[in-house]
């Protein structure tokens, strides 16, 4: 009908017997890919899809939230903050000098078990306001030295804790130097509760990052002692407290695993804790807490997970309802091309 027809028919006739000589045609080889005609799905957010999507999310999330909350409720946790209470009366105004003095740091605390705690019960120490994620702190270690005895000299990245008395420190760096050194002893009815301190670190750390032939040397030998001492006869791969400590925490408030108690604790049992309040958190207003916790299949006590899932699920349900109401109340004439702006306003744009 249009002027196209003659040319296309001429092209048709021509192409039939002129396909070979017309090699210099610039027309690209036709394929669905190059002509962008691949089979495709073209989803559109119709009311049906929107409401179904919201309902699906709420149907999935609300049960997950409920299950998570139940799991979290099953976990029993005892938290005891002790850094203020464990400073004797006469030092209460000058905690820093207390902690730096040679005064006996023993402190007795009492913990009461509220609900049955099934073994294994995990013992953590929790620190507040301690920035293990500070860049200079995180940098201050020597991975090669930790791994390999032959690299004992490689202390360049460990400043300022690299050398002491002109000898390299093993393990060097601020992280190792500030090793946490409070200790906890638990007793129940005057009987010692054993704390298993084996396997508290990650296996990959023990096997591959801390060498079996690397021994502490020249450690905490300087004028300023930052933390715990290390037994020079025990190789680093067995110094689990050090390994746990050197796995730097993400945020300024963190817990680290101290050990496991491998017996059940019955409700109303009273645990006596004899702790040594050695670690100086007073210089930077840090807090220290002792935590005993069981775990569920989800982990520790995590109400937030259940609540977050319930919130999002509930929100989606509410959105599904609102969209349903809105679609019903304001039904729109669907698919009418006269709604296109150029059709609605024929006189101009």
């Amino acid at each position: 009908m249009s002027s196209n027809t003659p040319s296309s028919s001429a092209g048709g006739v021509g192409s039939a017997d002129a396909a070979a000589p017309r090699r210099n045609s610039k027309r690209p080889k036709y394929s669905k890919f190059t002509q962008q005609e691949l089979p495709a799905c073209k989803p559109i957010l119709t009311p049906r899809w929107v409401i179904s999507a919201f309902l699906l999310v709420s149907i999935v999330f609300i049960p997950i939230g409920v299950v998570s909350l139940f799991a979290s409720r099953d976990v029993v946790e005892i938290i005891d903050r002790y850094e203020t209470a464990c400073v004797p009366q006469n030092f209460s105004n000058d905690k820093v000098s207390f902690i730096q003095s040679a005064v006996d740091k023993t402190c007795n605390r009492t913990l009461t078990v509220k609900k049955l705690m099934k073994q294994p019960i995990y013992v953590y120490y929790q620190l507040d306001n301690f920035y293990q994620n500070h860049r200079r702190y995180v940098k201050s270690r020597s991975d090669s030295q930790l791994k390999d005895n032959s690299s004992w000299n490689d202390v360049s990245s460990c400043k300022p804790e690299d050398m002491s008395n002109d000898q390299p420190i093993v393990p060097c760096g601020l992280i190792a130097w500030s090793l946490f050194n409070d200790t906890y002893n638990f007793s129940l009815n005057n009987q010692q509760l054993a704390v298993n301190k084996k396997d508290i670190s990650w296996k990959s750390d023990r096997d591959k990052k801390f060498g079996k032939d690397v021994f502490p040397k020249n450690f905490q030998n300087g004028t300023l002692i930052g933390g715990n001492r290390l037994d020079p006869s025990v190789p680093l791969s067995e110094q689990e407290d050090l390994i746990v400590w050197m796995r730097t925490a993400a945020l300024p408030t963190f817990r680290k695993l101290y050990g496991k108690i491998e017996r059940d604790l019955q409700p109303n049992e009273v645990i006596q804790v004899t702790l040594l309040n050695n670690y100086n958190t007073y210089s930077f207003n840090g807090k220290k807490k002792l935590v005993l916790s069981t775990t569920s299949w989800l982990g520790g006590k995590n109400d937030f997970l259940g609540i977050a899932y319930l919130t999002v699920g509930g929100l989606c349900f509410f959105l599904a309802l609102s969209f349903t109401v809105v679609y019903l109340v304001k039904p729109r004439q669907l698919g009418d091309p006269s709604y296109l702006s150029w059709n609605r306003n024929p006189a101009g744009h």
Binding site: H134, R255, G299, N302, A308, N343
Partner: protein, 314 residues
Amino acid sequence: MSSPQHLILHAPSCPSKTNICYFFYKNITFGFTLFWFEANASFSGQPAYNDWYMSCYNVFFTSLPVIALGVFDQDVSARLCLKHPLLYQEGVQNILFSWIRILGWMFNGVLSSIIIFFLTTNLIIGQAFRKDGQVADYAVLGVTMYTCVVWTVNCQMALSINYFTWIQHLFIWGSIALWYIFLVVYGYIPPTLSTTAYKVFVEACAPSIVYWLTTLLVVIATLLPLFSYRAFQIRFRPMEHDKIQRQRSEGSEHDKIQGRRAEGSEHNKIRGRRSEGSEHDVTESTGTRNSTDLPSEIRIRIDNLKAGPRSKNA
């Protein structure tokens, strides 16, 4: 005059403009999670993620879907573009690249990053995140947050795409899968090179149910704002190409030039063939709908417009 089909058809909505907004969005999301972490690391400059994660972000995990969007996306098909040439006004009037849109995408990015950071830190940090009592450290938080970022930006891309071919699917879900593969492979490289990433996924994160639940929750939570906004916008304030898409999907996109209604079967034939990827309606259309007619179609439409408002006969 050559047939319009022999021209290269430039999509009216110019997906490259969406691309630019999306590029801002994904980098804002990523960058702001770094910023929130810094705020919790006393602004010392400690990055939240391992160096290699950060280097590969724009190259491997989020670049392919953007390319696919730019090259392959079509909000309306070529045929409908030619039929409704006034769609091009959307581009001319810069509707799709206005300040409001750019700021909207940026706001979406900041919001996504806040949701990601807030949820991951509250879910993973503090108490044990696994049955064996282990707590999450810096490496685990980095992996979790990064996983959430990769999922989120790719899923936001999926929500923005109008036209899903197998290529889009491959690129989007492939980018996400590539992240996990990268984590596993990088994690097996000895710790002298992989430092904090050594076995972090296979040993620490993958066995943790909280890690997977966190990813799921964060992704859905970050998609909710955009999804709700799009649902609202398409329904109540549709743009021109949205309306055309709706017409097409509801089957009212049919010939109205002569004032006739097209047969349902002819229209379904056309739609069916289009979804199979056939190019022309030329040979089998029984009516006047013919790609060679399009120039005259436009002429006739202009005549109709001059004649006055049309009657509603959907």
